[in-house]
């Protein structure tokens, strides 16, 4: 029987990741053997039908994204793996790469066949040293075994995979900025259209996918669409890595069926809040999502359901805000991050974020004024969707605008008395 945990079945924290031989003995690289007997367009349709949504934050149907790549013309085309993972509170791609690097490589080979790409790049966050070492080893092993390089499995397919390590800059996770970074340029985002699928790396068709997205491909291709769909709960399909950080009893991340609720994740997996702490709210999927409240715990962790509640599922790694942590301070910390990581291209982002940070600093220090709350509110509209070149500024506005809505009294209290929480 095929596994019900296709992403983490080989993962055992504390032991070294599987070598090529161990990975293959555990059923690995089966999807490559199968894929190379299939027509690329059938593979793309298969992934489309499986209903896999991108795990990088936006959740776009992966097969559909692949289908926008024009037919082969004999010139290079690229698959680029987004392993930049710098969104505060997100720690899933690190787990997957560190503990089962061959799963990503297998997914890349199968995907490259589907796209008829003969070069793949892994764009990895520079600070992920263990990931770098383990990936380099796994890539070497795959070359030695004839899974990479010329004439893979004797099927006449050539593929090279290269690892690119970055040097710490959140905006590189935005896919067009990532492409500029990979070309050796300053990583400002590019205008879309053209979309990377048509004109990306060095002007050639390029698919950028998240690490976890591509780790789903081996299972789907080896075990089929029906198997994949059945992994989800109810009408939901597949599994995903979800997790919890903050003051819970058992913080961590786990492979869960898509379709569980926030409450199940928080209580059954993370063990609930630590003794002496109450849940005040949570960010459902990274630092650039709107706060949700305890009353939202019974929502299904599905992009559509979360959107209806006024937030985004994002990376599905939730951060809990407890009753002893200052929500204004929490937002200030997030804004400081976004202000620092802005690429500086657009005014609402480059100038707006430091201004917001300045106001939040004033409030925390007890120097805030009532009109500051109105200014913060106004700033969220300037930074909102449509006013900037990329989604960084709108993402930064999300925790701020939701905090102003849900925790308004606390902002007012800061203006009146300064911060009354224990100093962090």
């Amino acid at each position: 029987m095929a596994t019900d945990k296709p992403l983490t079945k080989n993962i055992e924290i504390g032991r070294a990741p599987f070598t090529f031989q161990q990975y293959e003995a555990a059923g690995g690289y089966e999807s490559v053997r199968k894929a190379l007997t299939m027509e690329p367009k059938d593979l793309i349709n298969m992934v489309k039908e499986a209903g896999l949504g991108g795990r990088g934050g936006a959740g776009f149907n992966t097969g559909l994204k692949w289908s926008f790549v024009p037919p082969p013309d004999g010139q290079p085309r690229y698959l680029v793996i987004n392993g930049d993972e710098m969104e505060p509170g997100t720690f899933k791609d690190r787990l997957l790469i560190e503990h089962d690097p061959h799963l990503l490589i297998e997914g890349m080979i199968t995907t490259c066949w589907a796209l008829q790409a003969t070069t793949g790049y892994i764009f990895l966050r520079g600070e992920y040293i263990e990931c770098e070492q383990r990936l380099l080893k796994a890539i070497d092993e795959a070359y030695d075994a004839g899974m990479l390089g010329k004439n893979i499995l004797g099927k006449g397919f050539d593929l090279d995979i290269y690892l690119h390590t970055s040097a710490g800059r959140y905006i590189c996770g935005e896919e067009t900025a990532l492409i500029n970074a990979l070309e050796g340029k300053r990583a400002n985002p590019r205008a879309k259209p053209p979309f990377p699928q048509v004109s990306g790396l060095w002007g050639r068709p390029t698919v950028v996918n998240n690490v976890e997205t591509i780790c789903n491909i081996p299972g789907i291709v080896a075990n089929g669409v029906e198997w994949y769909k059945a992994l989800g709960k109810g009408d939901f399909v597949g599994t995903r890595i979800s997790g919890v950080s903050g003051r819970v009893k058992n913080p961590g991340c786990w492979e869960v069926p898509v379709g569980i609720t926030f409450r199940e994740l928080l209580e059954d997996y993370a063990g609930g809040m630590q003794d002496g702490y109450e849940l005040k709210g949570f960010l459902p999927g990274g630092g650039s999502t709107d706060f949700l409240l305890p009353e939202h715990l019974d929502l299904v962790m599905d992009p559509g359901a979360v959107q209806k509640a006024g937030s985004r599922l994002g990376t599905s790694l939730i951060m809990v805000l407890d009753d002893k942590t200052c929500p204004v301070g929490c937002v200030r910390n997030l804004i400081k991050f976004f202000a620092h990581e802005s690429c500086g291209w657009c005014t609402p982002c480059r100038d707006g974020l430091p201004w917001v940070e300045h106001i939040l600093n004033k409030m925390e220090e007890g120097r805030g004024e009532m009109k500051d709350i109105a200014i913060l509110q106004e700033m969220t509209t300037y930074m909102g969707p449509g006013n900037t070149f990329c989604a960084l500024a709108p993402g930064a506005a999300e925790p701020l605008q939701s905090a102003l809505k849900h925790y308004r009294a606390e902002f007012e209290d800061h203006v009146a008395h300064g911060c009354s929480y224990k100093k962090h």
């Binding site: 290079p76 710098m86 290269y162 050796g184 300053r186 913080p251 630092g287 301070g329």
Partner: protein, 176 residues
């Protein structure tokens, strides 16, 4: 920095054989040389500790990338150091999960112990302290790195151990 390079007599230094070897290896991964710019800066930093004007010019000449363009890349990335750093670089995560679990207290502890704030280096050139965004280990917050090693569930006591470790090689436990 751009102006310094453009207007003064700073000259490119000679790249070492090791640096050239590593840069040549990276070149085989890309169809265009410009793509190697950041990798080359990282290679130089690996051997020299930081990227001086002389190093930047050397890479610029070697790869035939205009110095201003390469400087634009160098200054864009958090982890390319355009000023000297100490022998050991402490990267303390100051993002939200670590903040909730007390990274500001840890910073205060490091500052008290070593006498350095963010962005500063100890007088003996042994340590530089720099804040770093979320290190992707938020379930084990607070988190920090020293050079290429990650430390999780950090406490003030553990910081003392870690500092001692980089001073005299005494053991320190890794967690998670």
């Amino acid at each position: 920095m751009n102006n310094i390079i453009a207007t003064t007599a700073i000259k490119a230094r000679k790249l070492t054989d090791e640096e050239i070897h590593d840069i040549e290896h990276e070149k085989t991964h890309y169809p265009y040389t410009q793509a190697v710019g950041l990798e080359a800066l990282k290679i130089v930093q690996k051997y020299q500790g930081w990227v001086s004007d002389e190093s930047l010019l050397a890479v610029s000449e070697y790869l035939d990338i205009p110095p201003d363009e390469l400087e634009g890349v160098a200054t864009f990335f958090n982890m390319i150091f355009r000023r000297p750093v100490g022998k050991n670089v402490i990267l303390l995560c100051d993002s939200v999960a670590c903040w909730m679990l007390g990274c500001d207290d840890l910073q205060a502890h490091i500052t008290n112990t070593l006498g350095i704030n963010y962005g500063e280096t100890t007088k003996d050139d042994l340590f530089t302290l720099i804040p770093v965004p979320c290190l992707g280990a938020c379930d084990k917050a607070p988190v920090m790195m020293v050079n290429r090693e990650t430390y999780r569930n950090v406490t003030p006591k553990k910081i003392d151990q870690i500092i001692a470790h980089y001073r005299d090689g005494s053991p320190v436990e890794l967690d998670g």
